[in-house]
């Protein structure tokens, strides 16, 4: 039995909608991940500090507020500043297709937009994490 992969699911900024984050958390739990759910209204700095203290392999950020470009950039800057580039970052929420390319260029590994299959997330994440770890 492989050891569970630890992943942080976070909400950033002024965004009170966490139904999606909770559903993704439970989906990952059901796929055998250990999910740290850090709750609403986290700052980029808090998210990265949590990722460090919890020793996670990946950070998943759910954003429905429309400020995804700004917030992902801040989280990525903080990740670089703290020197934890090995931690994968992915995201989801109400993010227009036209912004997805920009986010991927920024360093986000994957964006799951509305309509994505829930089954896809753990499969993708497990494969991605095992590549980084080896």
């Amino acid at each position: 039995m492989p050891k569970p992969i630890r992943v942080l699911i976070a909400k950033v900024g002024l965004d009170g909608h966490d139904r999606g984050a909770k559903i993704v958390s439970r989906t990952l739990r059901d796929a055998g991940f250990e999910v740290i759910y850090s709750g609403l209204h986290q700052t980029p700095r808090q998210i990265v500090r949590t990722a460090i203290q919890e020793d996670v392999s990946a950070i998943g950020i759910s954003i429905l507020s429309g400020s995804h470009l700004e917030h992902f950039q801040k989280v990525i800057n903080e990740i670089r500043e703290q020197g934890i580039e090995r931690v994968l970052i992915f995201g989801g929420g109400v993010i227009p297709v036209k912004d997805v390319e920009t986010l991927l260029d920024m360093g986000v590994q994957r964006i799951f937009t509305p309509g994505s299959s829930l089954d896809e997330i753990p499969i993708w994440l497990r494969e991605k994490v095992s590549k980084v770890d080896n």
Partner: protein, 266 residues
């Protein structure tokens, strides 16, 4: 997770390297805990590599109680209600692993309302990973490791428990049992298990609901208890949300034992 840089090095060697450092960054403490957990290391394994470096005997405070009773909210209030200058504080918060998938949702961090808390303490969520009793199978080794890393005050929050999860009493100095004022009659208190090993009962008056008859029964039980484990048992009625009862609680913790906490009330 084990980093790429760690590949090829035996886990114990990585831990030895972390422990040999004078000050440990949060990332190193975090990695150390993961290594202990993934390799099922015991205290005896750590003793082999820890050398003669000093180990602080940290003050360990356990927080236990039923699911949703307010343990994490209580912990948040506890952290806010004192000035911990001079202490190096860690929190281990445990939530259950699935028996079916081995997965877990660890949600104890969400009650920490003040972001500044995370700047000054180390907070780690752990899953039970198959352990029964309210804790995690690696807890003893993890607490030992934290002490070796210089932590002097450690809070351990158990999973939501029932009557039979008493492991926390073996791992900490003081067990604080968060309890609702509708938790049954006097016969419940005659039963063995968690009631026996609780040092402090904190009756959390959620939503202002308080069953005074229960408080009377609980206080009578506490004063008649011949177990007298470490402090008490004592009964405090308060609220993790409003902060009521926390001054009394800290006075009690200060009074407790000769190695009492030297913490100033905030």
């Amino acid at each position: 997770m084990i980093c790429k840089e760690d590949k090829g090095y035996p886990a114990l060697e990585i831990l030895r390297a972390i422990l040999s450092k004078l000050t440990k960054a949060d990332s190193e403490v975090a990695r150390g805990i993961s290594i202990i957990e993934e390799n099922n290391f015991k205290i005896s394994d750590l003793e082999l590599i820890a050398g003669n470096q000093a180990r602080n005997q940290a003050k360990r405070i356990g927080i236990t109680g039923a699911p949703g009773i307010g343990k994490s909210t209580f912990l948040n209030r506890l952290l806010l209600s004192q000035d911990f200058t001079g202490y190096k504080v860690a929190v281990i918060a445990i939530d259950p692993s699935s028996n079916i998938t081995k997965g877990a949702v660890l949600g104890d961090r969400i009650r920490i309302t003040e972001s500044s808390i995370f700047e000054t303490i180390y907070f780690r969520s752990m899953a039970t990973r198959g352990a029964y009793g309210g804790l995690n199978a690696s807890i003893e080794a993890v607490l030992y490791f934290l002490e070796k890393c210089g932590f002097t005050l450690i809070f351990v929050e158990t999973v939501g428990v029932g009557q039979n999860e008493v492991k926390v009493a073996e791992s900490v100095d003081v067990v604080i049992h968060i309890i609702d004022s509708n938790t049954g009659d006097d016969v419940q208190m005659e039963k063995a298990g968690l009631m026996e090993v609780s040092d402090i009962f904190f009756v959390n008056t959620r939503d202002g609901n308080l069953n005074s008859k229960f408080i009377t029964i609980l206080k009578s039980f506490a004063s008649n208890s011949r177990m007298a484990p470490k402090v008490g048992p004592e009964v405090i009625v308060g609220s993790a949300i409003s902060g009521e009862g926390f001054e009394e609680l800290w006075n009690l913790l200060h009074r407790n034992q000769e190695n009492s906490l030297q913490i100033e009330n905030r």
